[in-house]
């Protein structure tokens, strides 16, 4: 259910926020279009696990993400824009598909730690 909600929110955002910058970003996203590249867990382990430790299940450099009550829109915005001095902005680098995969991964985490 959460996964479906995440996808719906991301699609809505994609349809409504179509700046020239984002169009360019989507077109230039260079991660190979394979199933592996769309895997949010893999993407998380490539980039996000450095700070959101235990795969996002526990607090470390960055906050715990499992069970977060932040809405998808908030998470999407934070990933795109970052937080000065704390989290990089990935808006230049991620396609909307990758963003969706990340949100889906975060929502799949069990809050049991």
């Amino acid at each position: 259910m959460r996964h479906i909600l995440a996808v719906a929110v991301a699609v809505t955002l994609m349809a409504t926020v179509v700046s020239a910058q984002e169009r360019s970003r989507t077109q230039s996203a260079a991660v190979p279009s394979t199933d592996d590249a769309l895997d949010g867990e893999k993407l998380f382990g490539t980039l996000c696990g450095f700070c959101h430790q235990g795969g996002g299940r526990v607090a470390g450099r960055g906050p715990k993400l499992a069970g977060t009550d932040r809405p998808d829109e908030y998470l999407l915005n934070r990933i795109r824009v970052g937080k000065e001095g704390a989290m990089p902005a990935y808006g230049r680098a991620f396609s909307e598909t990758q963003l969706r995969a990340l949100i889906a991964y975060i929502r799949s985490l069990k809050d049991d730690q």
């Binding site: 260079a30 382990g45 980039l47 696990g49």
Partner: protein
């Protein structure tokens, strides 16, 4: 003042016999002073290069502040640069009565070293999109001085020269395509002869980690050396095209040996950081092979950028225990000219300066199990713990290392090397990753991990005074959390340790006895120096918290780190009351 100066001159004269260093409290010819201070041990009145001198001693021969009177040390002045995002992580420099320093966003200040009165400032206009896209942004850890200029790197890939007297830009050279690679410069440059040497960020950033030699007069790039596959021999140590995203980098300023005209530099780890091939890393995985010249020390000709020789401290580093630590402590023992270099994994390597052949390797951190040991005769790793795909527990040290990037100190008076060791471990799950390119997204990790206490103990740190060649320990002081700032040794027989809780402490360099402390009100994660201006000796320390290693402290240690600000910092300067 006259009495002080006389006493100091006498003390300095004695020291000159010991170390043949320059030592004077009077103002002398500016150019000569700077050249002498950089090249000779000790540094005299000034502190003109990141590591104090080319020998990386982090030592001031000044004796006005000493074991007898350090209890009278008080704050002389404070300077707040503003916008200290991630704290003030830099090391100030002093030349001819002026203190220069940089901080977050590569802002540069020149202050009267005796009073703190601002003389000029320079705030470069940065590419805000790039600043926002960087994990380690926006700090800058240091500057260099030479040819009447101040040199500073920027996180958007530029090296800038400013006039020392006015702060006006002399040149501004774009060296890295940061728009594509999302890396720039955070480390200090090193001024050598007529060149400025500076290394780009690297490590788990999927690039090739270049180091540059730039003409100090014009800003023209003279050479570029890739720490990933920088020679034909090195290219063969990367399977397939893995060298294209190999990582590396040289993000801390190194040292220079004028006798052999050799720049010594440490390099970062390869990318991805962890390797799911496990023990099959020679033939499979994301980067098969030794991965030269990552996690290595390299010797470069400063005139041409040509590699003279190297030693790879960790062939195929699969733990992020790189060699980027910038201190190359140069000394002599039994007629041999040696250089001592700490590796992030927790071992200290001792090399012959003529060819980087290994003279000894000794262990500083206690909790180490990524290898069973390191051969002290060859430097070869013994009993590697390679980590295949899946879960692993209790890897020691943790990713934050047995030692961090800030520097220790060496005192020619005591013959001891003072260094912080870090004790912590972690659990991790190694996973397959795909680097994000075009534009490059920072980081290619290859694992999810969680820091933890070592078995049977709490995570902690320690300061020890040791023989730099054998590692024999003379004394040790324990800390509940590892201090992350650089150390300072002085001719007054003192060792200064800026700690993470905010206390600046002074110890007897011979015994480790604590003699003085002062609460700066926020953690330390930058440099500390000593200098003289208008007849008085000063201690200057950078304050402020928020590095990536420091970011671990809240989850691991709780308060005061959970609530410690990460957007504050200042230069705090002390002298005798």
């Amino acid at each position: 003042m006259t009495t002080q100066r006389t006493v100091l001159h006498l003390a300095c004269l004695a020291l000159v016999v010991l170390v043949a260093g320059a030592c004077s409290m009077s103002t002398s010819d500016a150019g000569t002073t700077r050249a002498t201070a950089m090249a000779e041990p000790g540094g005299g009145n000034d502190w003109t290069t990141y590591h104090g001198t080319y020998q990386s001693w982090h030592y001031s021969p000044l004796t006005q502040i000493n074991t007898d009177n350090v209890k009278r040390l008080r704050v002389a002045w404070v300077h707040h640069p503003g916008r200290s995002t991630r704290g003030l992580q830099s090391t100030p420099l002093v030349a001819d009565g002026v203190l220069y320093y940089t901080g977050s966003y590569s802002r540069v200040w020149a202050l009267d070293a005796a009073t703190g009165k601002p003389l000029w400032s320079y705030f470069p206009k940065l590419n805000d999109d790039l600043v926002a896209a960087q994990t380690h942004s926006p700090y800058t850890r240091g500057i260099a001085l030479g040819q009447g200029k101040v040199f500073v790197g920027t996180v958007d890939g530029r090296l800038i020269a400013l006039d020392m007297k006015t702060g006006q830009p002399a040149w501004d050279t774009k060296l890295v395509n940061s728009e594509k690679l999302t890396v720039g410069f955070t480390g200090a440059p090193l001024f050598v002869k007529d060149k400025v040497v500076i290394g780009a960020q690297g490590g788990e950033w999927p690039g090739r980690g270049p180091i540059f030699g730039v003409d100090a007069a014009s800003g023209r790039k003279v050479w570029e050396f890739f720490t990933v596959a920088g020679t034909e021999e090195a290219m063969k140590t990367w399977g397939g095209e893995s060298w294209k995203t190999g990582g590396g980098g040289g993000w801390m300023a190194g040292g220079y040996d004028p006798e052999t005209n050799t720049v010594w530099w440490g390099t970062g780890n390869p990318a991805p950081l962890y390797d799911w091939a496990g023990s099959d890393w020679k033939t499979s995985g994301p980067r098969p092979g030794d991965n030269l010249f990552t996690s290595s020390i390299i010797a470069l000709d400063p005139d041409t950028g040509k590699l003279k020789f190297y030693h790879q401290e960790l062939p195929h580093d699969a733990w992020d225990f790189d060699s980027a630590v910038g201190e190359f402590v140069m000394l002599e023992r039994d007629g041999k000219k040696l250089v001592v270099h700490p590796n992030k994994g927790g071992h200290v390597f001792v090399y012959d300066r003529k060819d980087a052949s290994v003279v000894n390797v000794w262990q500083l951190a206690k909790n180490i199990n990524f290898v069973r040991g390191v051969d002290p005769k060859t430097g070869a790793l013994i009993g590697r713990r390679d980590l295949p795909l899946g879960k692993h527990t209790n890897l020691c040290p943790a990713i934050a290392g047995g030692m961090s990037w800030n520097s220790g100190a060496y005192s020619p008076k005591t013959g001891l090397y003072y260094k912080i060791g870090q004790e912590w471990c972690m659990d991790l799950e190694v996973i397959k990753t795909t680097p994000v390119l075009e534009p490059q997204a920072q980081l290619d990790i290859g694992a999810n991990f969680t820091l933890r206490n070592p078995e049977g103990a709490k995570a902690h740190g320690h300061l020890s005074g040791r023989d730099p060649v054998t590692g024999a320990k003379k004394w040790e002081v324990m800390f509940p959390e590892p201090p992350l700032a650089s150390l300072l040794a002085t001719g007054g027989n003192l060792v200064f340790v800026p700690d993470p809780r905010g206390m600046l402490r002074a110890y007897n360099a011979e015994t480790g006895q604590e003699l003085w402390s002062h609460n700066n009100g926020i953690g330390h994660n930058g440099g500390i120096i000593s200098y003289a201006a208008k007849g008085k000796q000063y201690i200057a320390v950078a304050t402020g918290w928020g590095s990536l290693v420091g970011d671990e402290f809240g989850a691991l240690f709780g308060e005061p780190y959970k609530s410690m600000p990460k957007d504050s910092g200042a230069i705090v300067v002390f002298t005798l009351e």
